[in-house]
């Protein structure tokens, strides 16, 4: 939030009513909010009783009371007034702003007055009023009926996603899970920070997963093949996903595995790589906090960071050529051309090969994660727990984008046949590393399978 000093403009205007303080800092939020009440506006200070009175607008003809001025005007029309009297007798040329009657409140001060009568009423209720309305499902309390209604509509329909990809329908279980899932994130952060850039060559980039149960050793499997192509998409620059993480894993890579993987990646590059946005447009920065779960590696405090990659899904259609120039790709096709044995395998053969390597599905949450994350194009600080706990609504538009791109790529159909063994538990042991769906191709379903917690 930006803060501006209102300064002279305000002190000049509020000489009609109440106190005029020294220039308090004002907060600029929305157009008519307290930050910038119109300096010329008339400041009204109503008593709580008047404020909460429901019928403040009275018809002079019949005395009927209305909550809003507009309603009163509508009513007056019905009285068939002669034209002259139709005009409002005391039309207010000036804009009115209202101060909160509660003395201890920030909005009590004229410089922080609110411009809307309904707004001040709601504010007064919310902050200083008794919370009379209670949600049945989660027993959350509200002072303003409209707030309560709005909440009731969405209560229980929201879904919360942990960084590890698990989806929750209940907030409390989400919170508890997240607390115990935390360490994953921390480790990831540490690893990423420690990563050195010099690993950025020769296919050291591993395929980024969004799987829930990926463990570091899984990463090892996919280590050597991919290098992100510098993306033309500027938005990518914001996020340097912890390729460092991957690269760090690199050092422990089992070379034997990587060979298998490279072949698989070859297939992948032509199809899979096109599906997924490449957050790794550039060699990774050390300060990027990888947000997803690589098994035990999760970024706790940077829930939103990974998300800042806008998925260039729309670019994916340009796949096909090895040089995925405009499509940010996870794979450096150039790269692997240099490095890898140009094994030419059919897609099905590659699939079979991959089946040997095994796979556990990285969740379709991978896809979603991209999508979801894209919504938060900002790096969040650690303590913005609100964001962390705000339910991640799966954006439907992303889903459709994904669908489109997926459909475009017929090879993806093969991937759907790809054996997927979902890890039953969040953190499988190393032995399971053999069977991972590194492709993370859960293209059959956009939504992760597990609603109630564990995948």
């Amino acid at each position: 939030m930006l803060e501006k000093m209102a300064g002279e403009a305000i002190s000049g205007a509020f000489n009609q009513e109440t106190v005029v303080g020294s220039n308090p800092p004002v907060v600029k939020k929305k157009r008519n909010l307290p930050g910038n009440p119109d300096p010329e506006a008339e400041v009204i200070a109503l008593s709580p009783k008047t404020l909460m009175a429901t019928n403040r607008f009275l018809c002079e003809i019949c005395g009927k009371g209305f909550q809003r001025d507009q309603n009163l005007q509508l009513h007056r029309r019905g009285h068939n007034l002669p034209w002259k009297l139709r005009q409002r007798t005391s039309k207010e040329p000036k804009k009115r702003v209202y101060v909160c009657p509660e003395k201890t409140c920030v909005h009590h001060h004229p410089s922080r007055a609110l411009g809307d009568l309904t707004g001040i009423k709601k504010h007064f209720c919310r902050k200083h009023g008794e919370k009379k309305w209670k949600c049945e499902k989660c027993s959350k309390r509200y002072a303003v009926q409209s707030d309560w209604k709005a909440h009731s509509k969405t209560c229980g329909t929201r879904e919360y996603r942990c960084d590890c990809g698990t989806l929750f329908s209940r907030r409390d279980s989400f919170i508890t899970h997240r607390a115990f899932c935390e360490a994953l994130a921390e480790e990831t952060a540490r690893v990423t920070a420690a990563y050195k850039m010099n690993n950025a060559n020769a296919g050291n980039i591993s395929y980024p997963f969004m799987g829930t149960s990926l463990r570091s050793n899984m990463v090892q499997h996919f280590s050597s093949v991919f290098k992100p192509i510098p993306s033309s998409n500027g938005a990518m620059d914001q996020t340097r996903p912890g390729l460092s993480l991957w690269m760090d894993q690199e050092s422990q890579t089992n070379q034997a595995m990587s060979n298998n993987l490279t072949e698989l990646h070859q297939m992948g590059s032509s199809s899979i790589g096109t599906v997924y946005a490449d957050p790794f447009s550039n060699p990774p920065h050390t300060d990027y906090q990888v947000n997803w779960a690589f098994g035990n590696k999760l970024s706790s405090t940077n829930a939103g960071e990974l998300t800042s990659t806008t998925p260039p899904l729309t670019n994916l259609k340009e796949v096909g050529s090895p040089r995925l120039a405009s499509a940010p790709s996870l794979y450096s096709t150039q790269h692997y051309h240099h490095q890898l044995p140009p094994a030419i395998m059919s897609a099905t053969a590659l699939l079979q090969k991959a089946a040997e390597i095994g796979a556990t599905s990285t969740n379709p949450s991978f896809l979603e994660s991209y999508g979801l994350k894209c919504n938060n194009n900002q790096i969040q600080d650690g303590n913005k727990y609100n964001d962390l706990f705000s339910p991640s609504l799966i954006p439907t538009n992303l889903g459709s984008d994904l669908d489109n791109s997926v459909r475009d790529l017929t090879t993806l159909n093969h991937l759907q046949m790809y054996p997927r063994k979902r890890p039953k538990t969040l953190n499988d042991d190393a032995e399971e590393g053999q069977t991972r769906d590194f492709l993370g191709v859960g293209v059959q379903t956009i939504c992760p399978s597990s609603i109630n917690g564990w995948i």
Binding site: K134, C135, E136, K137, C138, S139, R141, R170, D172, S173, I175, T176, H177, R178, A179, F180, E182, A183, E186, S300, T301, G382, N383, Y385, L388, F389, K424, T425, L426, N427, N452, G453, W454
Partner: protein
């Protein structure tokens, strides 16, 4: 007790001896007919008169019979019943089979006086295979499918938040068996309060074995999470549960300017029966603003000397618990198996181990439960009950709504009762209460 009845080897079920009779018995038992054996008939007739079990509940019948035979020291009958149970039981079968398996193990150990040995073996096996990950999975999954523990959490957190409202330095002394899964929601609540976020110090009193295995991880997670929430947080572990009655304010790190809350979830039952009053007194000396106690509704204490009565109660409670587990979890759930194994150990310690001097399983793991009413009597010595506010009750109701049907909330009736009861199929199973000095 008789000298060892069997040779404790698998072949102890002397097949040849009891074969014929046993077969007949087995068939008869299953078909619910009167068996020919005269000894058996008496117990059977009395049993069928007031038999609380339905026709499908063969395990309860057999087990009760066996317990009775044990108390009567009727070795041949014990023998043959255990043999039958052994045939029918399975730790991986249906509810009846599981009950048969775990309870017959306890009966066997009781008969052979191998209780402590067996218990120690089971405990060390469990400890070796226990890890933070497995414990975490187990408890979180359990909380996911059943409000058994979360009921107590929500009620206690509500009471704690209300009692400590407005304080800026909080100190919670946690003596619970739920691996600190209660605290994330409390931390979140503290963080979202409108006013200043208070500091929280959490002192966990636990056993040495727990500390070794899981507390380090828990500490990490809690600290991290608190950082995330923006709550100033300290985490301490005191691994001296076994001498809880003797702990002092200093040992627990209670300072004078702190507002103290004591949280005991499934904790008091782990104290030796004879020390419980002392513990209550000790808690009082800490000067807490609120003490929350959550226990399970079962009474293994008042019948300590009457084996059959104790056995009956034990069977009743665990039958309910196993049934609840079966209906809450997926059929092939590892977490459920882990929970059942823990129950098995607990059953063993209650039935087959002697509490008292020399009983090694009486130190940490004996779980002689008492009913809410009994705890009330104990706690009233030093505390007076605090009712849960309407808001908290509403919170609990909302919580229960999020689970499958079958759970509900019951407020206490009568004057000598306080707290909330969680009921499963109309049976009260968990009791939650709050107390102030």
């Amino acid at each position: 007790m008789d000298t060892v009845i069997y040779n404790p080897k698998p072949s102890y079920f002397m097949y040849s001896n009891v074969n014929q009779q046993g077969n007949d018995q087995a068939v008869d038992m299953r078909n619910n007919n009167q068996p020919p054996a005269s000894q058996a008939s008496t117990s059977h007739s009395s049993e069928s008169a007031g038999d609380p079990c339905g026709p499908g509940k063969w395990a309860a019948r057999l087990l009760r019979d066996c317990a009775k035979a044990l108390s009567e020291k009727d070795s041949s009958r014990i023998h043959h019943l255990l043999w039958m149970l052994n045939e029918l039981a399975s730790a991986y079968g249906d509810c009846e089979q599981k009950l048969a398996s775990h309870f017959s193990q306890a009966l066997f150990c009781k008969a052979t006086e191998m209780g402590e040995l067996c218990f120690n073996t089971l405990s060390s096996v469990a400890e070796r295979s226990r890890s933070f990950e497995s414990a975490r999975k187990m408890i979180l999954k359990f909380q996911e499918v059943s409000p058994w523990t979360t009921f107590g959490h929500v009620a206690s957190n509500g009471a704690i938040l209300e009692a400590l409202d407005g304080e800026s330095k909080l100190h919670i002394i946690d003596i619970s068996n739920t691996f600190c899964t209660q605290w994330p929601t409390l931390l979140e609540a503290l963080a979202t309060r409108n006013d200043e976020t208070p500091r929280l110090k959490l002192t966990v009193v636990t056993t040495v074995s727990m500390e070794r295995s899981v507390m380090k991880e828990i500490r990490q997670r809690m600290e991290k999470f608190a950082r995330l929430m923006g709550v100033p947080f300290e985490f301490h572990v005191v691994s001296e549960l076994y001498r809880l009655a003797e702990l002092t304010k200093e040992e627990l790190g209670v300072q004078d300017d702190e507002a103290v809350a004591v949280n005991c979830i499934g904790a008091l039952r782990r104290i030796n029966v004879k020390d419980r009053d002392a513990v209550v007194h000790m808690l009082h000396t800490l000067g807490p603003k609120v003490v929350t106690v959550v226990e399970e509704e079962a009474d293994f204490t008042s019948s300590m000397d009457d084996f059959v009565k104790c056995f009956d109660e034990c069977l009743r409670f665990y039958a309910l618990f196993f049934e609840m587990l079966e209906e809450s979890f997926l059929p092939t759930s590892n977490e459920r198996l882990m929970l059942e194994r823990e129950c098995s150990r607990s059953i063993l310690s209650v039935l087959a181990c002697d509490e008292g001097d020399g009983g090694s399983c009486s130190t940490e793991e004996s779980e002689r439960r008492e009913r809410g009413r009994q705890w009330c009597d104990r706690l009233k010595e030093a505390f007076s009950p605090v009712g849960f506010s309407d808001d908290v009750v509403d919170d609990v109701r909302a919580l229960l709504k999020r689970y499958r049907a079958g759970w509900s909330l019951v407020l206490p009736q009568g004057d000598d009762d306080s707290g909330l009861y969680l009921t499963w199929k109309e049976e009260p199973v968990v009791w939650a209460s709050a107390w102030k000095p």
